[in-house]
Amino acid sequence: MLKKIRVVIAGLFFLLITLLFLDFTGSVHVWFGWIAKIQLIPAVLAVNAVILAALVLATLLFGRIYCSVICPLGVFQDLVSRISSRRKGKKNRFSYSPAKSLLRYGILGLFIVSLVAGLSTVVSLLDPYAAYGRMAANFLAPLYRWGNNLLALLAEQIDSYAFYSTEVLVKGWLTFGIALVTLIVTVILAWKHGRSYCNTICPVGTFLGFLSRFSLFRIVIDVNKCTQCKACERGCKSSCIEAHSFSVDHSRCVACFNCIGKCKFGALKYTGARAVKKAAGEAEPPGLSRRNLLSLLGLLAVSATVKAQQLQVDGGLAAIEDKKVPDRKTPIMPPGCESAQHMKQHCTACQLCVSACPNHILVPSRKFSVFMQPEISYERGYCRPECVECSQVCPAGAIRPITPADKSAISIGQAIWIPDNCVVNRDGLPCDSCQRHCPTGAITLIERDPDHPKLKIPVVDKELCIGCGACENLCPARPFSAIYVEGNVRHHSI
């Protein structure tokens, strides 16, 4: 029964969070955006104390149900493992293996250090939610969109407007490659060893595992009923049941409840810890004590506070480089994220905003220090005035929620004109594209020279420019626009 409930809820969560990465209309986020926001690492990055406390509490009460139900990478591995166990003779392919504590805590340590030090690349590579997000955004989203486009094509045939077609793009090949490696690694591990990724590599798994040692409810083996048949051990995808010693490594148990059903003698129960002690006479788990737990929690709190402080002290207005070449000195960050620094500290590189952006301007970065984090590029579109999609979907608080009205006054960059590229100079034709499309009226046209009253060149009022990229995207000059946007190190209002 417990297993059934777990499977149903996990399936729902998994489906909906996947849908978040597939949906390009913005309607799924309105209802189910919170599923991304209760993911652990995004909540840490967003310094969302309420969700963190709730997740910690839930784990202390029920064990690692987070890993079984909420984490999409965990459920994905269960799916792979389940398919693997459908093979002949592989139904009960697991066996107990000792915990690889050094590796686990080593990676957790590395993760926490990276988090505090702001090594965001390490953080985003290890975050299980982001890893799943990258896979969904890179592999499933294209399939979903192709399917949609097929429907749109059919709809067009019958003059229906129920579906409209959308572009299918790989936003960044490096990120695609990382996602592919992640996919291969997790599939192989899950295929062979069930949840071994979660119990050796995943820092979230290790952290929650550390908590779940002390969880109130847990799996217990009734020594009196157990016949040592090892059915539970062979069916445990976490390899955490050691039948001959009647012990369960609760730090690795993900509370999947599979073992309960495996036992023909009803020897396994999910029950309160006090009952456990009574039943098994078990001592407190060796190794890390409650004191250790508290200190670890403290460390986490410290790391979050350090971040919050950095946010406030970080300052200084951006110097905007005036360059002719269109490669940007400062990356453009979406409105709502305040600064590149803020993005670096909070983003987990899950690609949710990248797949949600209807204008295709968010792309994963290739720079090492902010690897796979989003930045803006105006080749495919521009930051349209009515859209605040990325700010609504971001679960990690890297892009804070804003309204279109807020956005119209947030300057994320500055337009810079390149005379040599301008069609007025190059083709000798009048053009008013940048001026006409500027939503804030920051561009005015002035006469180039008295001999050609029709030929006018743009001047940008930096006080009014918000860096939305309408001018750059709609500029007729190709391949390099004659006007391009240079990002603001720190966003400011106009």
Partner: protein, 465 residues
Amino acid sequence: MEKKNQPQIKHEINRREFLKVLGTGSAVTTAALYGCKTGNTVSAEGGMIGEVPAGQMTYRVNPHTGDKVSLLGFGCMRWPLRKNADGREEVDQEAVNQLVDYAIEHGVNYFDTAPVYVQGWSETATGIALKRHPREKFFIATKASNHRQGTRSLQEGIEMYRKSMRELQVDYIDYYLLHSVGSSVPDFNARFIDNGLLEFLKEERKAGRIRNLGWSFHGIQEVFDHVLNMDIQWDFCQIQLNYQDWRHADPRRNVNAEYLYAELSKKNVPAVIMEPLLGGRLSRVPQQALTLMKRVHPEQSAASWAFRYAGTPENILTVLSGMVYMEHLQENLRTYSPLVPITEQENSLLEQVTQILVNADYIQCTECQYCMPCPYGLNIPAVFSHYNRCVSAGRLLKSSRDENYRQARREFLIGYDRSVPKLRQADRCIGCDVCRPRCPQRINIPQEMRRVDLYAEQLKQQSDF
């Protein structure tokens, strides 16, 4: 003042004349319209519309050469295209052959092309298709399109004329036109008088290699009057005529067809009609207008009304239609096999329809493609066509508070992306004005682009208007 009054006086006379022409057939109309259904007992749709009649085409006689010209003329400016193996566009010659064969089988004998049509491929494709028929079975019309040339030298004009003969694989041209006359008298002189091209063409007519010499007109009345009153016998003249342009041609862009037709008739110059459907707008009239028409003839399309109208006046030699699809050809063949002239009552109904049309927000584009290619990649006719379709469907929102706002918004925006690729839409127009002089309807293209773009932006941003 005097000039302003003139058309009005003529308008009275012409109206009477036109009605005289109309008066003939009202009794026969109904019978003939239902004619195709007579004796039909099949309930399936194909049976309902019946066979395309052969051998019943209405013909008009050219007073100058005695040519018996089919009232339906084939406009060769929109031949079907396809992608070849390299992914490049080319004329779908099999489809062209099929259309031409079918047209000739059903009595069409006038084919109108020009060196500039269909990216310059029209003459070749038309030539190939017609070569498969005996020369005396068809009349060929092509044009001196030297308005699209760099220089206006005699040499280039002659070369264009010779090239047309080669491409069309003929040794004489039945109808040769000075292409798109009308922007200004000096321009006309520069193209045909100062360089001696018209003199050359007159010699060619004398030699019999041009059987009829005429001109096609788009533009202002002054030029029309000037050219018509020149000391030369024009054998024919091609004008834009349809029930909207009869009296409601945009004065900035064109001249009322009523005036043009009357002037031509006075001079005994037969008229060849272009744009009988106004680039398809008269086949996609607003629902309100269509209801008026359907009430009288439930089985007749809006297009057939327009064709009947254009074919009714007697001094009209042929009515051109650029037919890409077999269905269009068949429908037009039905309309003119034989022509059932528009009656007086029907005419007054079309006046009501015109009132609806001129009060709608159409962009006066006929999708002739003259403006293309846009140097910055826009698909100008497609943008206008999408906008006009929304006008026709009554889906153009007057205000963001309109009742059907949500649905009309969705339809406009999705339909926009479907009919025009994003990079070719109105927001990409830079206002360089390169297209403007090329438009025979004298549309201020950049300004209309702004209008479409503004509308699209209002919908995208969901702003109040």
